[in-house]
Amino acid sequence: MRRVYLDNSATTPVDPRVVEAMMPYLLDKFGNASSVHFFGQEARAAVDRARREVAALVGARQNEIVFLSGGTEANNLAIRGVAESASEHGRHIITSSIEHSAVRGVCDALEKRGWEITRLPVYDEGIVRVEDVRAALRQDTVLITVMLANNEIGTIQPVAEIGALVREARAEGRRHLWLHTDAVQAAGRMPVDVETLGCDLLSLSAHKLNAPKGVGALFVRRSVRLVPQSLGGHQERERRAGTEAVASIVAFGTAAALALEELDARIAHLGARRDRFETGVVERISDIVFNGDRERRLPHLSNISFRFIEGEGLLINLDMQGVAVSTGSACSSGSLEPSPVIRALGRDDELARGSIRFSLGKETTYADIDYVLEVLPRAVENLRRLSPLYQKALADRACQVA
């Protein structure tokens, strides 16, 4: 059976060039980067090189990159690290209502411990408004955390404008206000530059960039003080204790270098295939709703709600035909509530439950897209034939015509 992987926002295949780069560090060059001897120094040199490569991807300095286990840990360290370090200056945090659960979960936990959290709306288009950030700013605000691009609908948030706002506030003497952005989905799919963004902290994950799972990074601007969340070692300039995952870090560095080098080509590749997909879907399937602004979004992602049906049934039907996607329906996420991101757009439960995320990768071909366009309309039609909501809609329409 043909297999088409359209779930690159969940994870990406590891690039063979990345595998090749990391292999020596699993075999001969196995040293601990903290060791003084030859083996250690060989590993240290590799970690330093990877640090330069990851820093270059986001326009940072080498010593502003902290390696850790992935996006979730990066978000935990950024938000808790700043919140705990700045707590004597204030306990108010501004965030958006569509953050990844790794940000949402940390903010919820801080709220239980007495911090105040303002969650900004994103309106119909799935984008935070800068004037809302300005209006939410208080004397005791210590952190703004707004993602660079959303993981379910791909919308790009105005982080650079928020960064300008923070600089303005700082110029007026606000010395304890920091800006964090979760760039896990954005990196490698749009230009990311910490100076342009004006952010103080930025989270990255390697496995969304064609590198292995289990490694990520946090950019920490030099002026930022963080309370480390793991203790007991001097690694990563005291900001993250624990032996560096040398081979994975090397892989991350190589993937970052490739992503930077190939960025323009990847954006063009993804956008062309995504647009062909969306045009094809519109031609073949009725009663659909695109979720999120269709201009200000990442080039690899398309999120569509199919009316009258639930996402999980569609996901399984597509899976049986070799097509891998993901859904905002509650059941498959293990919760009772459908996607909070789709709900935040003002969509009703039915649309939130019927949402499917198609996320392309640099390996996706036109032939893949054409195959999906062949099986998707049939799968939707088959499920709609079962749906009492669809039967009712058909009956209502027949009445209107008559």
Binding site: E310, N317, A330, S332, L336
Partner: protein, 123 residues
């Protein structure tokens, strides 16, 4: 979350989907927690279920359980069908994940509601 092959097979080839013109009983039940819906139509002649059909909206287990129950009860007497339990539905699907058993419960509730109507119709 993993589903059995039989489960997936029901999902891609649902049995007896649709409404029924000459149904003796039609019941529709909604799971109040997640909003899943199941609509079951039965045609009963001489105390035996000649035909059963279903419509379903909701997560995959609700669709699969609807398909299973519509297939299972055809040919059964009303008496036999009323003895079916949630476990019978789960068994017919070669199992359901623990957190998804409520879909089988919805199928049985809907079946019983439909069967009750056929009892009302008895002379």
């Amino acid at each position: 979350m993993s589903y059995s092959e039989r489960f997936k097979e029901h999902l891609s080839n649902p049995r007896n989907a649709g409404e029924m013109e000459d149904a003796s009983a039609v019941a529709e039940q909604t799971n109040p927690v997640c909003g899943d819906r199941l609509r079951l139509s039965l045609r009963v002649r001489g105390g035996r279920i000649e035909r059963a059909s279903f419509l379903a909206y909701g997560c995959a287990p609700t669709l699969a359980c609807g398909s299973v129950v519509a297939e299972m009860v055809e040919g059964m007497t009303v008496e036999e069908a009323s003895r079916l339990t949630r476990q019978d539905i789960v068994r017919a699907l070669d199992g359901l994940p623990a957190r998804r058993q409520h879909a089988a419960a919805l199928a049985i509730e809907t079946l019983r509601a439909a069967l009750e109507q056929t009892m009302d119709d008895r002379p």
